[in-house]
């Protein structure tokens, strides 16, 4: 049974709760700098065009306008991997691509100036389909990338960065298989993670080589260490405000940051570039497009004998993080399927639409969602219960896998079979599962079906984290760590962990703001790493501080440190708990005591989530209703119950489960325009359509964390889309393989309407 803790595992109010409910929490658009200008972007109306002429004289002459920048006079910074994305170019590659920048005293003046910029374009043919884009005669987006193929053998995670999965002997594997699932399927609705708060950046230069940026980010340090490498100057001080949702997308905001920094550089004033909702829809971050052509071989008992195929990854108009997502996707596929023989190749392709960036699920969701129909075909042939199949095939302790940086890791996490069993019980899977393409229930035109998906990630221990914990003489403690708050409640949870180590009331633990100037390095809140990676650094720092104060106390209390204990900011000899001495008498009132902690990467502890869904499909109208969801996981030890629950409920937000039902970015392929760039036309689930949602959270501790915990936040979205496809297919008795399952697609599949 789980250990009893003073704070860990108990629901406590978030440390920032009062600020949030009173509207005092500062988000990026709430920040003003003295003399700040408004920055705006002129955007391309064409999906692909050269800029023949651009005239800014009229715009420059307008009142309040401080600067107008075009490709001719922007700084020579470059983003993208490998570096290929200019701040502005003499070519545009998607509808919404940046053409010119304006800084003016007010937003109205800036918008007027945009209207006065005269541009002559030369329209070029555009391409939207991954497999068309790689044809020799396809329109080419960048000279340096023939056939629109972006190299995947780049060193984003070091010299061996994973860009495929090759091991064993697939020919032999397929020979051993009893059943083979095969085909080409896609998850290409490039949904929008769509945090409520649009992205924005304020840039302000302190000197020619010194830039400070404010933004709402998920990972404060990315604007320093990632952007420095793109901009090539010594330092950026990155400060994060409260972040109004991110889901990956606001880990960093390269384009808005480039724009604000360029405008601030020429005007000598702070500049805020705040995207509108339309810009967030059409020119910020989309999910990757994903298409998989390949096959999987399985035996009668569900053993997977071989996986082979080609994964086409559509990154849109440029690639900044796609190689990293390809690497993680390749890793996660191996966690889901224990298999000895792999030949999974990848192609990273450019197309004329707004670029894909970091989105929760990070490659794995995209690959699995496209791969699942093939897996389902094989399971269906073998007549296997998918729950049993996933239970058998999810990575187990002792199994190995190549992770994103190309090294072979042996799992020393846990066997998640129990979470599968408990989840299935809570969902009543055994009663509801009637076999492949068989509905659970039929009521007139309404058909109920069930489906299931799994996902896991070994990134819970990714990258580095550092922290200081400073003990003050007044019995309070301050954590110095560069951690943002974008909804996970992680700042509060870290305070809890430190309070538990130091045994001081939670109210007495505080944390420095997310600011790279005042904090040591932290990679950020990605890959569910908050609990395991950041948590371990903070815990180590708190333990170090505790050790240090007990050492100092040793000479005051005339006892060796091992015989001392500290509780509530006082130190005592364990055998004499009633004569405690406050920290102020140990350190004196003019000294503090600081501990340091560091976490270094450990990819041996994957997390796991299984998602059961029940949908109802109306075969007359084609409407799909998500009725019932059970998510099951094993978190080792829950740190804060409501925060963990919230992360898992997030399963159908942020371009997750609902990308199988109604979420999609719809592009008109005649002109490259997005057709649903607003909150009315882009569909989202309302309060009135909430499914019944139950979380089953086990707590089987893992030894490598002080509180035996492992994070599971990020992965909640990933098993959803494929689970819904499976459920809807079972409901209607026909294999449905296209995301999202709009009424039109359902009715078409049922032969009730004609295909376009």
């Amino acid at each position: 049974m789980a250990t009893k803790y003073r704070f860990i595992g108990k629901a406590t109010p978030r440390k920032d709760a009062l600020e949030i409910v009173q509207g005092k929490a500062q988000f990026i658009d709430d920040v003003k700098r003295p003399g700040m200008l408004c920055g705006k972007v002129l955007r391309s109306p064409y999906p692909h065009a050269g800029i023949l002429k651009i005239d800014t004289t009229k715009a420059e002459a307008l009142p309040g306008v401080r600067a107008v920048l075009t490709y001719k006079n922007v700084p020579d910074w470059k983003g993208g991997v490998p570096r290929h994305v200019k701040v502005l170019d003499n070519k545009v590659r998607f509808v919404g691509d940046g053409v010119a920048l304006v800084a003016a005293d007010t937003e109205e003046q800036a918008n007027k100036a945009l209207e006065q910029i005269e541009v002559v374009y030369e329209e070029l043919p555009a391409v939207y389909d991954v497999e068309e884009a790689i044809q020799p005669d396809a329109p080419q987006l960048y000279e340096e990338f023939p056939r629109n193929l972006v190299p995947t053998n780049v060193k984003v995670f070091g010299p061996k960065t994973l860009s495929n999965v090759v091991m064993g002997d697939v020919d032999k594997g397929f020979k051993e298989a009893d059943f083979i699932g095969e085909g080409t399927y896609a998850y290409e609705n490039v949904a929008n993670p769509l945090p409520l708060e649009p992205p924005g950046v304020i840039a302000e230069w302190q000197g020619p080589d010194q830039l400070t940026v404010w933004s709402a980010t998920q990972s404060a340090s990315w604007h320093r260490f990632i952007m420095v490498s793109k901009m090539g100057f010594p330092d950026i001080r990155a400060i994060s405000t409260h972040c109004g949702g991110s889901f990956g997308s606001k880990n960093y905001s390269a384009q808005p940051l480039f724009y604000a920094a360029a405008l601030s550089k020429v005007t000598g004033k702070p500049v805020k570039v705040m995207y509108t909702k339309e810009e967030q829809f059409g020119a910020f971050v989309l999910r990757l497009g994903s298409r998989f052509r390949g096959k999987v071989g399985i035996k009668k008992d569900g053993t997977v004998t071989a996986v082979s195929g080609e994964w086409f990854v559509d990154t849109g108009a440029f690639s900044d993080m796609a190689q990293a997502q390809v690497a993680v996707g390749c890793g996660e596929a191996q966690l889901m399927l224990r298999c000895a023989n792999w030949d999974l190749q990848t192609k990273l392709v450019l197309t004329n639409r707004s670029a894909s960036g970091v989105v929760r699920g990070f490659g794995g969701q995209e690959l699995e969602s496209a791969f699942h129909p093939i897996l389902s075909i094989a399971m269906e042939q073998a007549n296997l219960d998918p729950v049993e199949f996933f239970k058998k095939n999810y990575v187990k302790p002792g199994d190995g896998y190549y992770w994103r940086e190309g090294n072979w890791w042996v799992c020393r996490g846990k066997d998640y079979s129990k979470a599968v069993v408990e989840g299935a019980k809570a969902f009543k899977w055994k009663d509801k599962w009637k076999g492949w393409l068989v509905p659970t229930a039929v009521d007139g035109s309404k058909r109920v079906g069930v489906g299931v998906g799994v996902h896991g990630n070994a990134d819970v221990g990714e990258d580095d984290s550092e922290a200081y914990v400073r003990l003050n003489p007044d019995g309070t403690a301050v954590i110095h760590a560069c951690v943002s708050e974008s909804g996970m409640g992680q700042r509060s949870s870290l305070c809890k962990m430190a309070a538990e180590v130091l045994q001081i009331p939670l109210e007495r633990v505080d944390m420095t703001p997310p600011d790279t100037l005042i904090n040591p390095f932290d990679f950020g809140l990605v890959g569910s790493r908050g609990t395991y990676a950041v948590g371990s650094a903070v815990i180590a720092a708190a333990e170090d501080a505790r050790r240090k104060i007990l050492e100092v106390a040793s000479s005051v209390l005339h006892a060796p440190p091992e015989e001392l204990e500290t509780t509530d900011g006082k130190v005592y000899v364990k055998t004499k708990p009633d004569s405690p001495v406050p920290w102020s008498r140990i350190t004196g009132i003019m000294q503090t005591c600081t501990g340091f902690g560091r976490f270094t990467p450990d990819y041996s502890v994957p997390n796991f989530l299984i998602l059961f869904v029940q949908v109802e499909v109306d075969i007359e109208t084609g409407k799909v209703v998500l009725q019932h969801v059970v998510a099951a996981t094993d978190a080792g030890q829950v740190i804060d119950p409501p925060s963990l629950e919230g992360q898992i409920y997030g399963s159908f937000g942020s371009a997750g489960t609902d990308t199988a039902i109604f979420e999609e970015s719809v592009t008109d392929r005649k002109n490259g325009h997005l057709l649903n760039m607003n909150m009315i036309d882009y569909k989202w689930r309302t309060f009135s359509d909430l499914p019944e949602f139950r979380n089953v959270i086990l707590e089987t501790g893992i030894p490598s964390h002080r509180f035996k915990a492992v994070g599971v936040g990020e992965i909640a979205t990933s098993p959803g889309p494929s689970a819904v496809l499976m459920a809807a297919s079972n409901a209607v008795g026909k294999r449905l393989c296209e995301y999202p399952l709009t009424p039109e697609k359902i009715l078409k599949a049922l032969g009730k309407i004609k295909g376009a």
Partner: protein
Amino acid sequence: MSYVKEKATITLTVNGETHELEVGPGPSQVAPWHTLAQTLRETLGLTGTKIGCDHGGCGSCTVLVDGKAILSCITLSVECDGKSVTTIEGLGSPPGRAPDPIQQAFIDHTAFQCGFCTPGIIMASKALLEKTPSPHESEVKDALSGHFCRCISHYHVVRAVMAAAKKGS
């Protein structure tokens, strides 16, 4: 040119405080095309009201005008002349200090994740509970159905509003 006009002003009572604002395009004036959200945030500095979409599709800018929940991003400030506006900063007694029971319920149930939708959701919940002190769960959901919360704090929000209603009754 034009005839000399009377200086046009509007009067907004915001969270109990009366503001007389000049109508015009200047920096501290209210232009005829300014939305209430803009005036609250930019002119009056009340940034607790959030703008998630600025086109009437997300609910985050919800405030109360004469007790009714409205979307301040699609309401012109000049339309609110003579009206009484309550924003998130105006809740609690004293306002902005000790939280209102509905705010306390959101704290107790951690009824938010990133918190960007929260001010709007709290204002809409406040309006609901004023009118319907003991709502059925489905009434809470209906009242909030125009509020987009991408983090999915919905389940915690419904619990919080129901708990606040129970305490209030």
